[in-house]
């Protein structure tokens, strides 16, 4: 009867594991220990497995440990560009040229006509202006309104960029404003627009350069890791081949 119980414990590896990891009750523990005191085979096995467990402490994960953060996608999304406007579609210089042409055309009361007799450009700057007073006052009202619209659009444009208030003009466009002061103001608006666009461009370039540099660094690290990995695999292959060669030599010499 006793021998049967001893054999049961010898074959009960589940009980052995419970004992090894201290997950058995007191009575089971005493039973196993009583068995180990008389069974050399089981005692040796417990000692050997305990030795293996003590070796596992040596196995530590590689350093450095990961160090990352989870960032929601909307926090890193590239800001959507503003809807395309004709301001952005055209280069700054062309906008400036077009604007100056419009202003000069309006101020100088230029008449540009393309007809059978070819291209006709006629200025009604001085006398012509005064001689056509009713017409000119109507035209003036139109271009002043257009300029006011242009100025408000530019201001809106600046505000959308959000990089500061637009340059303050000392006066608003009104009927008493001189044409020269309007020109100066428009030119200032154009220059300011150009400077802002240049700044914007420079900032985008800086961001691009930073991103490219970060990508390059990441690629270098990845390449380096891949090289290490391949070297490691290669070394392992060499070791394995060496061991196989030793084995073959031993086998052949044994014959």
């Amino acid at each position: 009867m006793m021998d049967n119980r001893r054999d049961d414990i010898c074959n009960d590896k589940s009980l052995l594991m419970s004992y090894l990891y201290d997950e058995c009750g007191l009575d089971e523990r005493e039973r196993v220990e009583a068995h180990l005191s008389v069974c050399a085979s089981c005692r040796d096995e417990v000692q050997a497995l305990t030795g293996v467990r003590s070796r596992l402490v040596d196995w530590t994960p590689p350093e450095p440990a990961p160090d990352f953060r989870v960032v929601p996608a909307d926090a890193v999304a590239v800001p959507r560009s503003r809807p395309w406007t004709f301001w952005q579609a055209a280069p700054v210089w062309s906008l400036a040229a077009a604007l100056v042409l419009v202003v000069v055309t309006l101020v100088a009361n230029l008449e540009i006509r393309y007809g059978d007799d070819g291209l006709v450009v006629r200025s009604a700057w001085s006398d012509a202006v005064s001689s056509s007073e009713p017409t000119q006052s109507g035209t003036e009202a139109i271009w002043r309104a257009e300029l006011a619209t242009l100025e408000s659009e530019l201001r809106r444009d600046f505000e959308t960029f959000g990089s500061g208030a637009p340059p303050q003009t000392s006066e608003t466009i009104g009927s008493e404003v001189s044409e020269e002061s309007v020109l100066v103001r428009v030119q200032r608006l154009i220059e300011e627009s150009e400077r802002r666009q240049q700044r914007e461009l420079a900032q985008r370039f800086a961001v691009l350069l930073r991103e490219a540099d970060a990508q390059r660094q990441a690629d270098l690290v990845r390449i380096d890791q891949q090289m290490d990995r391949h070297q490691h695999l290669f070394d392992a292959e060499v070791v394995q081949h060496g061991e196989l060669m030793d084995y073959l030599v031993r086998v052949s010499s044994g014959r």
Binding site: K13, M17, L20, G51, R53, P61, A65, P66, E243
Partner: protein, 215 residues
């Protein structure tokens, strides 16, 4: 604010994360990324894949945090995600372990011959023991290795491991036993067993706690 978060429990951080507090979730990342990486590395046996799995684990946790009802501990939930990813990786990659030995070759035959005149400590430096254990662990089947890792390094009970692996407790014990036995053979074949000083009995509670803390 970060200091205050450090003092929070996992449950508190999870609750805040569900409300959309990303800092709280990242505090959980800081707290658990190292154990998850260690777990993945030991189960997969490959550093780069373990880093990927670690990141993917937290990404999935981030996406699914609102569905986490708190029935289990947050760490258990993370372990489960990571272990599923490891299992998928093992299944898809079918990666050959380092120094894989063909089934028709007796591992004892591959043991390096003793070098006369040099001690074993000279032949196998202590610093190399970790890599030797690592290589030996990679030779045992995935399910046995996972059971051993969860038992030895995560300190889980057999019941908890059975829940993770979806099998009876007796199966887990068998896996651990067979894994340890295979590991013993592997280490003996590398001559490492002879530098161990075996205690006469099972490890005491202090030793077990020390081993559980190793992550």
């Amino acid at each position: 604010m970060p200091g205050a978060l450090m003092a929070c429990t996992d449950e508190e951080l999870v609750s805040r994360s569900v409300s959309g507090d990303h800092d709280s979730f990242n505090q959980l990342v800081v707290r658990w990324q190292r154990p998850i990486f260690a777990l993945a590395y030991r189960v997969i046996g490959h550093e780069e894949d373990a880093r990927d799995i670690c990141q993917e684990t937290f990404l999935r946790a981030f996406r699914g945090i609102k569905g986490f009802k708190g029935e289990a501990k947050f760490s258990s939930w993370l372990y489960r995600i990571a272990l599923n990813l490891c299992r998928d990786k093992n299944r898809s990659a079918q990666r050959s372990p380092l120094n894989k030995v063909s089934d028709d070759v007796d591992v004892l035959d591959l043991a390096p011959a003793d070098v006369a005149g040099s001690s074993l400590e000279d032949q196998v430096g202590w610093s190399e023991l970790g890599s030797e254990v690592s290589r030996a662990m990679m030779t045992i089947p995935d399910e046995q290795r996972t059971a051993i890792v969860l038992k030895e390094y995560q300190g889980l009970t057999f019941r908890e491991i059975a829940d993770f692996q979806g099998c009876p407790v007796s199966t887990v014990k068998t896996r651990v036993y067979q894994g340890l036995t295979r590991l013993r053979q592997e280490l003996e074949s590398r001559g490492i067993d002879r530098v161990a000083t075996f205690p006469s009995r099972a490890p005491d509670a202090g030793t077990r706690q020390r081993m559980r803390r190793v992550t």
